[in-house]
């Protein structure tokens, strides 16, 4: 699948985070296996989906809070890991994909803030349309807002996938040859990271319940 199509798919699934549907298909546990299945490696999609879910489970897109875009980040991480799987350097590829994913989560949060500011303009136009009782125009503005977010997140995913295509071959060329073995603790460390971020949340909810 081309990077463009993949980015559009990531952008579409990303709509589910807050903009549309909200049926959880954007969550790593669902989105990564979908990408894995489409890219020909559902098992790796599931493994990365579980790992990323634990890391981003704690992030809640509630109200006006600026939240890290963990869903887009997880999809990008998963897509990169599968796309470069044939290099047979799983630790190196996973480490690079994970780092790129973290950058995407930060940039995604900034883009969400920008999108919400742009929505202020959409609100203004909607109020003007309401003054003319133009229902079609209001529905169109609503759709435009969805489209803007979709394009923003697709563009972010595209840049990340393109960046990975440039960065990973460079890393392979420049790192000393046994780098793969030296990175073998990264995946277990990410499991540990996910557990440490999830456990306090569970305890907090259990405490509140009692």
């Amino acid at each position: 699948m081309s990077n463009l199509l993949l980015s559009l798919l990531i952008g579409f699934l990303g709509l589910d985070t807050t903009i549309a549907f909200q049926v959880l298909i954007s969550q790593p546990i669902f989105a990564c296996p979908i990408l894995g299945w489409l890219l020909g490696n559902p098992a790796l999609g599931m493994e990365i989906g579980i790992m990323m879910q634990l890391i981003w489970l704690n992030v809640l897109p509630v109200g006006a809070a600026v939240f890290l875009e963990g869903n887009i980040a997880s999809m990008v991480t998963c897509a990169i890991a599968i796309q470069f799987e044939e290099l047979n350097l799983p630790n190196l590829v996973f480490t690079a994909a994970f780092v790129i994913g973290m950058a995407v989560s930060y940039l995604g949060a900034q883009l969400t803030v920008l999108d919400r500011k742009l929505n202020g303009l959409i609100l203004k136009l909607t109020l003007e349309a309401a003054q003319k009782a133009s229902l079609k125009q209001i529905a169109l503005l609503d759709f435009t807002s969805v489209l803007i977010y979709f394009l923003m997140m697709s563009a972010l995913a595209y840049v990340a996938l393109w960046g990975a295509g440039q960065m990973i071959p460079l890393l392979i060329e420049n790192l000393p040859s046994p780098a793969e073995q030296k990175l073998e603790f990264v995946k277990p460390a990410v499991w540990g990271l996910g557990i440490s971020l999830t456990l306090p949340m569970i305890f907090r909810i259990l405490r509140q319940k009692s």
Partner: protein, 263 residues
């Protein structure tokens, strides 16, 4: 408070099909989330089938839209209750009940905090994390056996059955109760549901941890050590600093160094 002129008395009644169309549109409730009016545009767009049904003249439509594009916020699923109430009171207003709009404005302002609190507690802090934890455990357990899809379908339903139910039923209950909507939110409502999700998710997560430990331990005992070390280190680091990226970076760097030393 905006005074609304009485509309030309309408005998048009809301149909089930209108309510279903509102339900479908409610999936886009947060599409125009903005810092000024929060979810009001999405809320107003959901009610377009209602304005079309109740009013055919431009003036009444303008006033209707004006009423519903003002500031509004709620949990996106629980906003269904506010939609139902709005439909009921707008229908009453269109039928000639002149104080229905003032009642609606007061009620919507009251519902902002109630629906937000109930929805956040029920969905964001219970059903969502615990459905996903149950999904994580089931997927981890079944992914090797080829039943991963089944695990995902289970997790999807676990979350979306209450989601769809409340989204649709919220509109119906709001429509049925109208101004008496507060009767729907007793303290005990959803209590059993919350408990069921909390315990299912927590037990599933413990199961997941046991399987993960066994799996990593049997693969390479050093991996298990790395996972435990990373969990402790990042747990302490995040607890102390509350800085997510710092915690991630520190963990990653330390375990890359550990890998270099061991190699």
């Amino acid at each position: 408070m905006m005074k609304n002129a009485s509309p030309a008395v309408s005998s048009k009644r809301i149909r089930k099909w209108d309510i279903f169309r509102v339900f479908l549109r409610s999936f886009f409730m947060q599409s125009v989330w903005n810092y000024r009016s929060l979810i009001s545009v999405g809320f107003g767009v959901c009610l377009i089938p209602i304005v079309k049904r109740l009013y055919s003249d431009e003036q009444s439509r303008k006033e209707f839209l004006g009423r519903h594009l003002k500031f509004f916020n709620s949990h996106p699923y629980m906003a269904s209750y506010a939609l139902g109430v709005s439909i009921r009171l707008e229908e009453a207003f269109a039928a000639g009940e002149t104080d229905a709009c003032e009642k609606l404005e007061r009620l919507k302002n009251l519902l902002i905090s109630i629906l937000g609190a109930v929805g956040d507690r029920l969905f964001w802090f219970t059903i969502k994390p615990f459905s996903l934890l149950a999904g994580v455990s089931a997927l981890f357990l079944l992914s090797d056996s080829g039943f991963g899809g089944l695990a995902l379908a289970g997790a999807f339903l676990l979350y979306n059955i209450p989601h769809f139910y409340l989204r649709y039923n919220g509109i119906l209950e709001g429509y049925e109760y109208g101004a008496d909507i507060y009767k729907c939110f007793s303290n005990q409502r959803f209590r059993i549901l919350r408990q069921a999700y909390i315990w299912t998710g927590a037990i599933a997560f413990v199961l997941f941890l046991i399987i993960l430990i066994v799996k990593l331990g049997s693969e390479n005992i050093l991996f298990l050590g790395a996972m435990t070390g990373a969990a402790v280190l990042s747990g302490v680091c995040y607890h102390v600093t509350r800085k997510f990226y710092f915690t991630v970076a520190l963990t990653l760097i330390l375990f890359i160094i550990a890998g270099i030393i061991v190699a």
